[in-house]
């Protein structure tokens, strides 16, 4: 009989499906999200597998071209809207943001549950579209193809994304109000963990950017269904206007995907160096700076779209600006290691992997921001490699690192460290083998979204597919051992890592209302002197 089952906590306080589906507990909602996004990760991953197998040969011989076009579209839709964007905020943010600031829950628990249902509903629409025949417009839905020419399930998919967008908006709203108004006594802004700052900045983007995507989808909908011709060139409309509206959200969206990941990395680097993050204030402000600047650069997706040269100059300039706060973070994390006490637990390995891969991915963004170079590499595999480096090599690594880090807190169990280290290595190697050749392919001139390609591109494509199979193994391993650990993993104490942060002051798993008594915060963030030796007095 395990010791934890005797104590009441959020997992065993109530039982039955209804207690989960009607829960108001942010921790349970985080787990509901975990289930949903994992499902969509597998769906998106299945599409990716088919894509990479098709690309083993230069001819389009595995699937028809229409099917292939649906595969890459649905891969991106599933991954971006139903996995990446919710992942860290809705799983780890939901679970830990209230605890980290000493609150009993988010400001609006029922809206939090509604957010999850909206994601599920949106996902249902998208899944329906995928099963009923698929959509082939690319996740970018450029007009006039999407409004007038495509025969796929455009509307169903667009509706799914629309509904999921509101999930994102409401989560952002919830987080902002919570951080502003529900911090425990003594938890000033500059004592908050950097993970909270990161999610706060992400929430700013979510509330300001997502509505623009929503209205863009509305315009797409009315043009396709009611033939109102806002983007129709035959009626004097501008198809490129759609691109402006689309990217006005979709560029900040990539910062929605990376900022929470950076927040996780701050926590991991600090904990496993046993030192406060170097330049806390700079890292905190850089998150907000990225959120703000991220809204000013969307035109770098339109350099060859017939956008004016002047606009191109402005957007190129600002795109270099937005790189600087990210660079500041990387330098600060590295400096945190200096004279630290570094341990090589799995979460730290993921953090190291993140920093390396994000550095490469972020720096290749600078290639794309250079106007003269972008002309050649835009719409090629260079871009595909760039964004997979930051989103997969970046965000997914951080997500996995965070899951390993907080797994004992969430479940009360430790995962098996040996297997976890091995899978981190497999992921890192598989990832690089998959995506590094794509930089070369892109500069060679292989365009994106190509079902068949000239023979001379085959060797690099084969390398990429080989890498993808290794990567897949790396992703499957945690699935297996995390589930295994629920029954057989070592029981975890309140603070197995010796981390700071209020979540480590409460039991593993936490009680329903997070704390037995509301904590009163008297120490700065990342104060490791309070973890060793003296026990902190809570309340």
């Amino acid at each position: 009989m395990q010791h934890t089952e005797e104590r009441e906590h959020y997992l065993n306080a109530s039982h039955g499906l209804k207690s989960w589906l009607l829960t108001k507990d942010h921790k349970r909602i985080g787990l509901l999200y975990l289930f949903t996004i994992t499902l969509f990760f597998f769906i998106g991953g299945a599409f990716a597998t088919l894509i990479r197998i098709e690309l083993l040969t230069p001819q389009g011989d595995l699937v028809s071209n229409d099917t292939y076009n649906k595969l890459f579209t649905m891969h991106a839709v599933a991954m971006i809207f139903f996995f990446m964007i919710p992942s860290i905020p809705a799983v780890l943010g939901n679970f830990f943001l209230p605890i980290m600031i000493g609150a009993r829950d988010l400001a609006f628990p029922r809206i939090n549950l509604l957010s999850w249902y909206l994601l599920v509903a949106g996902g249902a629409f998208a899944l329906f579209a995928m099963i009923a025949g698929g959509v082939d417009t690319g996740w970018t839905f450029y007009t006039p193809y999407s409004t007038t020419y495509s025969n796929g399930w455009v509307i169903a998919t667009a509706l799914g994304i629309f509904v999921a967008g509101f999930s994102s908006i409401l989560t952002g709203l919830n987080f902002i109000v919570t951080v502003h108004r529900m911090r425990a006594p003594g938890m000033t802004w500059f004592r908050m963990p950097l993970f909270v700052w990161a999610n706060y900045a992400t929430s700013l983007i979510q509330i300001l950017g997502t509505p623009v995507l929503a209205v863009t989808i509305v315009l797409l909908f009315v043009e396709r269904v009611f033939h109102l011709g806002i983007f129709d060139p035959a009626r004097g409309g501008d198809p490129v206007l759609f691109q402006h509206l689309f990217w006005f959200y979709s560029h900040p969206a990539v910062y929605i995907m990376i900022l929470p990941a950076m927040g996780v990395i701050s926590e991991l680097i600090s904990t496993f160096s046993r030192k406060p993050v170097f330049g806390y204030g700079f890292v905190a402000f850089s998150s907000v700076a990225i959120a703000v600047l991220g809204f000013l650069v969307w035109g770098h997706h339109l350099f060859v779209s017939t956008q004016s040269a002047f606009a191109g100059l402005v957007f190129s300039f600002l795109s270099y600006f937005v790189a600087i706060p990210s660079a500041i973070k990387v330098f600060n994390w590295t400096a945190t290691l200096y004279k630290g006490s570094i341990s090589y637990d799995t979460p730290m390995l993921y953090a190291f992997g993140f920093i390396g891969l994000f550095t490469v991915g972020g720096l290749t963004g600078l290639f794309l921001a250079a106007l003269g170079l972008d002309i050649h590499v835009t719409d090629t595999y260079f871009v595909v490699a760039h964004f997979h480096y930051v989103m997969v090599g970046g965000t997914i690594m951080a997500f996995l690192g965070g899951m390993h880090f907080w797994w004992p807190k969430i479940t009360g169990r430790m995962y098996p460290e040996g297997w976890a280290k091995l899978s981190a290595l497999v992921v890192f190697l598989g990832f690089n083998l998959t995506f590094f050749p794509q930089f070369i392919l892109g500069y060679l001139g292989m365009p994106r979204r190509y079902h068949a390609y000239p023979e001379e591109f085959q060797v690099l494509n084969v390398l990429s597919t080989a890498g993808a199979s290794v990567l897949a193994v790396g992703y499957l391993m945690p699935m297996v051992y995390f589930i295994w650990s629920l029954k057989y993993g070592a029981v975890a104490g309140a603070n197995p890592w010796g981390a700071t942060g209020l979540e480590w002051r409460t039991a593993s798993p936490p009680p329903v209302h997070n704390f037995e008594e509301t904590p009163i915060v008297t120490h700065e963030a990342y104060d490791y002197s309070t973890v060793h030796g003296e026990e902190i007095q809570v309340g």
């Binding site: 400001a107 108004r181 209205v215 033939h227 109102l228 009626r235």
Partner: protein, 224 residues
């Protein structure tokens, strides 16, 4: 189960420490939601700005064909409805449930009147063949100008349609508040839903204040 010394009440839910904190959060939450709505409508206003700059004369001519007296009447109706809404909130502050209900009913009546006038206008557009699509024909413009005229009317229907949708949702919200008011849910201590509902209603009103001149009054002062 830890209940932290208080059982949950409407004005003090379990996640909050004080009723004031709860009210603060609700209000801040509604303001943030309204900011998202500004961004939502903002996308359409951006499209409008681009196309008005591209086709200024066509936009002016199409705008003149809209029924400005009806639009102006609707503007007044909405302004009155915002007034009655404010009075409902005031009644809430004073804890007068029957007055809340009364003023909410007045607001609903104005809101419904607005939608009715809108329906009349849209019908007018249908009769005049100003609905974009295969049947569109704007008599005062030449064949080459029909396209941009369709863009004007596409924006007209999209923007006023989106606004009307928000009014319908607002009406639903008013009905719900009305039912709660009649159940004596609200008091001087707790009338937050009426308060934040009022914020939403005012916002929908303000959107119309922008829509009306932008759609109905382009260059109208220059026409005979």
């Amino acid at each position: 189960m830890a209940d932290h010394g208080h059982t949950e009440t409407l004005d003090l839910r379990v996640q909050f420490d004080t009723a004031e904190q709860q009210k603060d959060c609700s209000t801040l939450g509604m303001w943030i939601f309204l900011i998202t709505e500004i961004m939502f409508f903002g996308g359409m206003f951006a499209c409008y700005s681009v196309y008005r700059q591209w086709y200024p004369e066509i936009f002016a001519i199409c705008s003149t064909s809209l029924n400005a007296p009806l639009g102006a009447a609707n503007t007044c109706i909405l302004l009155f409805s915002s007034f009655t809404m404010v009075m409902a909130v005031r009644a809430g502050q004073l804890g007068r449930s029957r007055a809340i209900a009364g003023w909410l009913i007045a607001t609903l009546i104005f809101g419904t009147a607005f939608l009715g006038v809108k329906a009349v206008e849209w019908n007018e557009k249908f009769v005049e063949h100003h609905i974009p699509g295969a049947t569109f024909h704007f008599a005062e413009l030449s064949a080459g100008q029909q396209g941009p005229a369709q863009i004007f009317f596409s924006l007209y229907f999209a923007m006023t349609g989106l606004h009307a949708l928000h009014m319908v949702v607002g009406a639903g919200m008013l009905i719900w508040l009305l039912m709660e008011a009649r159940k004596m849910t609200y008091s001087a201590k707790y009338y937050t839903p009426v308060d934040v509902g009022g914020l939403y209603w005012h916002f929908v009103d303000v959107i119309w204040i922008f829509l009306f001149p932008l759609l109905y009054l382009i260059d109208r002062h220059m026409k005979g």
